[in-house]
């Protein structure tokens, strides 16, 4: 399946907009590191040749990516995380690894990340609420970490949880969802080449409202699968029950694959509003693609699975 490309926007223009919008960050980074090589490493992926998985559709401006977040731990309004997550400290950070794995332990995040090369992937992100963004994630394949941790052959699923810290995550003091936020993947989904752990957006770490220090990215699934501020990873032989499955099992399933033919019980999923920045270029909705346009990479995992039942 071909990924639909926006033909009217040259990719050179996308890069220049990014560089333009973030010119102060570039200058800051450059003066702070005082090295040409260091400056080079701060360049976004868009400045180099597009990677295999990258979309060249118009990117959502950084300012919008960081001010419109579904991150219930910091507020149920999408504008709240950008305000309430300011000052959220994500170092030092540990991840507790448990279950069917050779090396169960609590790891310092920086130790886990040692030797892992970060890359930038420009993915579409489709929210279950019918809006979507195009975001350059900064991170690495989840498979890299899983291989390091060496799960046992009996591990069939991976359960991933957000930090539980009501003193630092204000909404966790209210029973909005069952805390901590829990998500899960089948092992083959977790090992899929598209599945990322992102440590940031637009070529650098953070910010907190986007899930720092580390969050999950599965671009063919609805955005809520992307569990943020990961503090616990468990390998298991039972299908994990996610926070949203628990809250509304008739509305949110385990697979949560983007599918224009399976409606949310309360709204259609056939179309989406692509958040590109301005009102006038996003006033008309666009058609939602099966698996969010990533069919070629993921459909083999779901052959024989009724996606209507396993929504």
């Amino acid at each position: 399946m071909l990924i639909k490309r926006a033909t009217d926007i040259p990719s050179s223009e996308i890069t220049s907009e990014y560089v333009y919008r973030n010119r102060r960050d570039f200058i800051k980074a450059a003066t702070a590191t005082l090295g040409a090589a260091a400056v080079g490493s701060m360049l976004p992926a868009t400045a180099s040749a597009a990677g295999k998985y990258d979309t060249d559709e118009k990117q959502t401006p950084l300012s919008n990516v960081t001010t419109y977040n579904n991150y219930y731990e910091f507020g149920t309004d999408k504008g709240e995380p950008a305000v309430n997550a300011v000052g959220f400290r994500f170092r030092p950070w540990t991840i507790a690894v448990s279950g069917l794995v050779k090396k169960p332990a609590t790891y310092a995040l920086d130790d886990l990340l040692k030797g892992i090369t970060m890359e930038d992937r420009i993915y579409r992100m489709r929210c279950v609420e019918r809006w979507s963004m195009v975001i350059p994630w900064h991170g690495f394949p989840l498979a890299t970490l899983i291989n390091k941790l060496e799960p046992l052959p009996s591990a069939k699923f991976i359960k991933i949880q957000t930090l539980l810290a009501p003193d630092r995550m204000p909404e966790q003091r209210r029973p909005t969802l069952h805390w901590p936020y829990t998500e899960g993947l089948r092992m083959d989904e977790a090992m899929n080449e598209l599945t990322l752990l992102a440590i940031g957006v637009y070529g650098k770490e953070g910010p907190a409202q986007n899930g720092a220090p580390i969050r999950l990215i599965t671009p063919w699934k609805y955005g809520f699968k992307g569990v943020k501020a990961i503090a616990k990873i468990e390998f298991t032989d039972k299908m994990p029950v996610s926070a949203w499955m628990e809250a509304a099992p008739n509305e949110y399933g385990f697979y949560a694959s983007v599918n224009p033919t399976v409606d949310h019980p309360r709204w259609s999923q056939a179309q989406e509003t692509r958040l590109t920045g301005g009102l006038f270029d996003q006033i008309r909705p666009i058609k939602t693609q099966m698996f969010n346009g990533y069919t070629q990479y993921v459909e083999k995992m779901y052959s024989g699975l009724d996606l209507r039942k396993n929504f």
């Binding site: 149920t76 809006w131 963004m133 509304a248 259609s268 920045g277 009102l279 996003q282 909705p285």
Partner: protein, 198 residues
């Protein structure tokens, strides 16, 4: 005095509209302007409905007669923001595909109830003039205009059924509406109770 105040209140009621236009023109409506316009107009419909419904209780509690002179205006502003709300839904969520709009209205309870609430406002807007009161007779006119209760209840249900999880805001509107409607029940029932009690 009322004559001076009326244009002032009129302009005040238009402030949310002008802020949206200004925000749209200056790209200041956040990451999802379509949603921002939908939610802002939705909020103002409910606020204007509740303001309109608060005017009679205010008169009965304070004895003031002047607020009622603004009731037609606030009611019509609820209708004005409903038109904007429905238009942005048709345009930006359904891409003006009228078949899809029809299916959506029929299929999804929160859209159905929202649409019905909107439709029920149309006869009220049309008959909102003094001329129409005369033409219909006050009793019948008043009866017709009680449809606003259904519109307000429907509007809040529409909001309640839409939110994913956090129902704080629709519940807040619902409590205000419940108080305003219970006040009417109370003032209707009390005169009948009074002779018994004393």
């Amino acid at each position: 005095m009322i004559k001076v105040l009326k244009p002032v209140v009129f302009l005040l009621c238009l402030v949310p509209f002008f802020l949206l236009v200004w925000g749209a023109l200056t790209a200041n409506l956040g990451a999802n302007p379509v949603e921002a316009i939908t939610h802002t107009t939705g909020d103002w419909i409910l606020r204007f409905l509740l303001i309109t419904l608060a005017i009679t209780p205010l008169r009965l509690l304070t004895g003031w007669k002047w607020p009622i002179r603004f009731r037609r205006m606030t009611g019509l502003f609820a209708f004005f923001y409903s038109i904007l709300h429905f238009t942005i839904y048709c345009l930006s969520i359904q891409a003006l595909n009228f078949k899809e709009i029809g299916i959506d209205i029929a299929k999804r309870p929160y859209i159905t109830v929202g649409f019905l609430s909107f439709v029920l406002m149309i006869p009220l807007a049309i008959t909102s003039t003094k001329k129409w009161i005369g033409r219909m007779g006050f009793k019948r006119w008043q009866l017709l205009h009680r449809l606003i209760y259904i519109t307000a209840i429907g509007g809040i249900l529409h909001y309640l059924w839409l939110v994913k999880l956090d129902i704080t805001k629709p519940v807040r509107y619902g409590i205000v509406l419940a108080v305003l409607l219970l006040f009417r029940v109370w003032t209707t029932v009390r005169p009948r109770l009074l002779p018994k009690g004393g």
